[in-house]
């Protein structure tokens, strides 16, 4: 079976890039989110990293992550613009069509919405000639957008067709946001949806959250929040989202396990969600274009 609706993330797996990509492909995944550091840090240089991705035959869901970008001034702003340009070029070189931008956690970031919107618009404009879309993502300890709702407001204000949202189920689950709050987001604004489970029943905000975010995430169904995740996917699907669900999973254990073992766990998660919630399993050609919001 080829897994089309769910994507892997190179950050979930241990080992060299080419080995990760090969494992992803063997398990039947057809797309993968690429961490920029994996390509840039490739032993054969950036070109070697780009070749590894292109030769793998796996589609690139997107490139991650541009951080602490918006709300800066003067030289800091120029510097971050250069970083952004470099990532946009890399994204295009990989054949990627999406760049994930996490809301700034920098203490230097201006929290004035006008400044943030100005920067997001500039980034989206830079991305247009390259054919890249920008997925802006709220971060719970960010100063500019702490969740999908505030990220969504900024995206709406910026009003660029190629600027949308990355929605991370983890943020919604940990903040215990009611799923109906997602109704405020149009499916055309959802550029990518990221899924992960985690093993703790409850989370304390901030410090705990930051550690869990980076270290204790597992694949959907492996943690304590399978039912909530299934409800989340059902909700997003009903809203009309037809894009990729990307497994945004990082944890220390998976970094010590063979990539084939880890990616097979991801495959089980994909199959479970496919069978229990999504049921996109029998694709009709161009069905995605016909999918409409549940309210219609």
């Amino acid at each position: 079976m080829i897994i089309r609706d769910f994507g892997m993330d190179t950050a979930s797996l241990a080992g060299p890039l080419a080995a990760k990509l090969a494992a992803v492909r063997r398990a039947g995944f057809s797309q993968v989110m690429i961490s920029a550091s994996e390509v840039v840090g490739h032993p054969d240089g950036v070109d070697g990293g780009i070749r590894a991705v292109r030769d793998s035959g796996i589609a690139v869901t997107g490139l991650e992550t541009l951080r602490d970008f918006e709300g800066l001034d003067g030289k800091l702003r120029d510097y971050k613009m250069d970083v952004a340009k470099s990532m946009l070029r890399l994204c295009r070189a990989l054949g990627g069509r999406l760049l994930i931008v996490e809301a700034s956690t920098s203490s230097h970031a201006n929290t004035d919405a006008d400044a943030i919107v100005r920067d997001l618009r500039a980034l989206a404009t830079l991305a247009i000639p390259l054919g890249v879309r920008i997925a802006f993502k709220g971060v719970s300890w960010s100063r500019t957008a702490s969740n999908f709702a505030s990220a969504g407001e900024l995206v709406l204000r910026a009003d660029c067709r190629n600027l949308g949202l990355a929605i991370d189920a983890f943020d919604i689950l940990t903040a215990q946001i009611p799923l109906d709050d997602l109704d405020a987001i149009g499916p055309e604004q959802m550029f990518v949806v990221q899924l992960s489970d985690f093993q703790w029943q409850t989370l304390h905000p901030t410090a705990d959250n930051a550690a869990t975010k980076t270290r204790y995430r597992v694949f959907p169904g492996e943690g304590a929040h399978g039912e909530e995740l299934a409800a989340f996917v059902g909700k997003v699907d009903a809203l009309g989202y037809a894009g990729t669900y990307s497994f945004d999973v990082y944890n220390d254990d998976y970094q010590q396990m063979p990539p084939d073992v880890v990616v097979n766990r991801a495959r089980r998660a994909a199959e479970w969600l496919e069978e229990t919630v999504l049921r996109r399993a029998l694709p009709v050609p161009n069905m995605a274009h016909l999918r409409r919001p549940a309210d219609d």
């Binding site: 340009k85 618009r121 500039a122 989206a124 404009t125 830079l126 247009i128 000639p129 054919g131 190629n162």
Partner: protein
Amino acid sequence: MTNALEYEAVAEEGTNPLGISGIEFIEFATSKPQALGSLLEKLGFRPIARHRSREVELYRQGSMNIVVNSQPADLPHTVRPAETPVLSAVALRVSDAEAAFQRVRDMGAWEIPVRARAMELNIPAIHGVGESLIYFVDRHEEFSIYDIDFRAIPSVEKKPAAIGDLHFFGIVQYIGADRTADWVWFYSQLFGFTRLPDRVRFGIMPKGSLLQSPCRSFFLQLIEPEDNARYAAMEEHLQRIGFGTSDVMATAALLEKRGIEFLASEKVHANDRGALTKPCLGGVIFEFVHDEAAIHSKPR
């Protein structure tokens, strides 16, 4: 032809933040400059000047300047084999080139480092579609950018008249599937172009979306791939120049005598509204569009 008043009313809503007042020149890049030069001469252009230090030539007819760039380092390398000329740059006349450049750069345009600029002219440039550039030129009235870096070809008329009142009418840009909204946003936000309603059409190639320049003197036509071509690999690029003329059939007859061949298929053939040349040099096409230049050539 469509009702001119209709599209004027639409354009009236736009603004002109960069003070754009037309196209100063359009540049081709090719490794076969003589072949393109002789094609341009058949179209009525005359070689006017050569660059002092680079393999760059200036052709002119009437109000139109075309630059042929065959400097090896400037040739695009991803669009098509370089023997086939590619449209590699458009220079816009603006009221203040440096101010225009700063403004669009701050808004998210990609600046071109000076050393990479084709003509060693100190004119600011940004990335356009594909490998192409957009220049900003403000020295087009009292004296010209060509006076500095170009050497006039001796005994040549510097301002040859245009055949059949030919003038730049527009540029056709091929874009990827579902990319119209992105590019409309790009041109409207950065330059002040206005998208025209689909009922406003010119010439005989009515596909895609039309954008009118804020000075209302030229157009961009954005064309997405259709049907199965949507799935084929294609780099976005500037595809052809459209020339305006008040009498398409008379102009076409003049050009045919000079050796230009027009498409004459059942679907596409010269008529009062427009004409399309056969592809030359491996794919170069020119379009002709009926246009009473006076209707929209007045800068605001």
